[in-house]
Symmetry: C2
Subunit: 348 residues, 2 copies
DNA sequence: TTGAAAGCGCTAACAT
DNA sequence: ATGTTAGCGCTTTCAA
């Protein structure tokens, strides 16, 4: 541990008491300009920084937020993490990173998070969101789920408006003339997958299509490639496939083109969800519903800090809408696509 | 802050002193089995966890490691982060994440890092590696640079063997018959870019090729796309391009194919460095030198913890070799490519 | 083996 | 405006 210079040494050098030193580093404390200057000079000379650990002990707040993420291969999560860190740093909080347990041992993780006395927790799409969220909530620590919801009271969450997005995708594909559909699912247990899948099916059913071929991709690229082989290898293969996220859609496209020799979108239209970076790469040009990471982070941080700082006690459930961004991976309907801010979007 | 149950309450319930409670949670402390059981029962009943913050204050060590990363769009960094978090968690340390300042304000960042009394710092490829590393080192906190080096004494670093990798790439491209070369550079200031570029040029020069067209890509995809336009748009364009990393190589490939109408590798061979996930996607099938992130993390953690835990005081400089993985983005030499562990690698 | 007492570095009453 | 005192939750001598 470094920065061993303590406030006593600064106080001695400046010829004042430790309290005076403390006040210099406490915004809004009353201290004479002259004293402040002497203290600051001494502090600078000695290289003194108030010890945030000791401060936390008194304040009962650590100004640290635990963030638990499961998989970082899906570019959505690194984006999320980067923005979260920026946003928290800007507000004087810091991010303690935990990777979701591969071993499913949420208790050990929970113990570690609690031990650090974090002021709040962000759970980004880990398989154990629910269990952890409940425990933390019970322990009185504000929790916000990102890209998952949870029915329990007291747990805030921020998601895309997955149901509306999936409905838009259904309408879009129908408008392009598709009638045979496939769905590559994420983990069945995730609320995001459920929302995307059921809304997609419901909308198709409303419009007279009741059959949707389904394969599990489990949010991994290997799983999605397998799913693509099964789904697109059959004689009566679908001519439009909705993948629960872009990360899988990319693997499905690659498998369709490079393994199965299919043309996209001539032989099969493929659409995804999230609009992550690689979806925009010309090799994929994936039609996808955006999941606005910036807005989601802003809402998550606000929900968390409002509770931590006592401005509001209630949990908040936010659902943020996103555009259906039209690119080249799916057949394009004759009508309904307009250009907005340099992107083609679906506005039927 | 939660987990407000303190050791006093556990002590009272178990009918012992606070010291006894403390000893139960201190490995190797002497305590009667009977007492331990009573304490543990009480602790469990109350949901008590020792406060890591209070503990840090005494120990003078926080068991937190600060990690500073600059850009998370390049998949190498999320991979690094995930493994680092896992590795540290497994050893009882935790990762405090800082995003490298876009505003170039390293002082503010430094202050925050110091305030948290972190036990060590991992600097992953930020533009301010050197300045920060020096400051932290001066403050007595062990530092390890990943994917950068720094001449200063006392600073550990772990990098790929960039010079050897770049030489292998030069040999590989020459063996495939290329004679007109281009280089898309990362940030000129980064040691990694310097090593890759100079070794590439030196090796080509040794073999009689002295001209290499150079464009700046600045480690960003937008920059790389611009570089590709300039480099490949000219009449006497190179027929082989080495990009300082895969992240840029992907943008260069996309630009070549989709904007400039070039075939890869028939019209131009493109090679990168890092062997990140997207390099393996069939749409790119990028020939690249791997940067073994697992090994690099292991070495970085070892270097850091050996110093933190007093096993070794000296800084360590590690350079880890990686295979040149041969895929379809570059013309393939007639000889020298062999299959090892399911990959084609260059072993001249 | 156990408890009492001191103290990690800091801040927040409370005096002055 | 400043100093004195107490104490955040824990561990760690020191005695017993």
């Amino acid at each position: 541990m470094a920065g061993r210079i303590t406030s006593v040494e600064v106080a001695r050098r400046a010829g004042v008491s430790r309290s005076a030193v403390s006040r210099c580093f406490t915004p809004g404390a009353s201290i004479a300009d002259d004293t402040r200057k002497r203290v600051m000079d001494a502090a600078k000379a000695l290289g003194y920084r108030p010890n945030a650990i000791a401060r936390s002990l008194i304040a009962g707040r650590s100004r640290m937020i635990a963030v638990v993420v499961a998989y970082l291969e899906n570019q959505f999560y690194p984006d999320l993490l980067a923005r979260l860190a920026d946003e928290l740093q800007a507000r004087g909080y810091h991010l303690l990173l935990f990777t979701g347990p591969s071993d499913g041992n949420s208790d050990a993780l929970f113990a570690q998070i609690l031990a650090y006395q974090v002021d709040g927790i962000v759970l980004a799409s880990t398989s154990l969101s629910s269990a952890l969220a409940d425990e933390c909530n019970a322990a009185g620590i504000p929790v916000v789920l990102i890209n998952r919801t949870n029915d329990r009271a007291g747990v805030s969450s921020v998601t895309a408006d997955n149901r509306n997005g999936a409905r838009a995708l259904a309408d879009f594909l129908l408008a392009a003339g598709h009638r045979r559909f496939g769905y590559v699912a994420g983990s069945a247990g995730s609320s995001t997958n459920q929302d995307r899948e059921t809304a997609f099916r419901e909308r198709l059913a409303e419009r007279g299509v009741t059959e949707v071929l389904r394969e599990d991709g489990l949010y991994s690229q290997a799983g999605a490639a397998e799913a693509a082989r099964r789904l697109l290898g059959r004689a009566d293969r679908p001519d439009a496939v909705f993948c629960a996220n872009d990360h899988m859609a990319i693997a499905v496209m690659d498998t369709a083109r490079h393994e199965l020799g299919l043309r996209v979108p001539e032989d099969v239209s493929i659409v995804g969800y999230d609009d992550v970076g690689p979806a925009r790469w010309p090799s994929y040009a994936l039609t996808s519903v955006e999941q606005p990471v910036g807005t989601m982070v802003d809402l998550a941080v606000a929900a968390l800090l409002d509770r931590i700082e006592g401005r509001e006690a209630a949990a908040r459930i936010a659902r943020v809408p996103g555009e259906l961004v039209v690119r080249a991976s799916a057949r394009r309907p004759e009508h309904g696509v307009v250009r907005v801010d340099g992107r083609d979007v679906w506005r039927p």
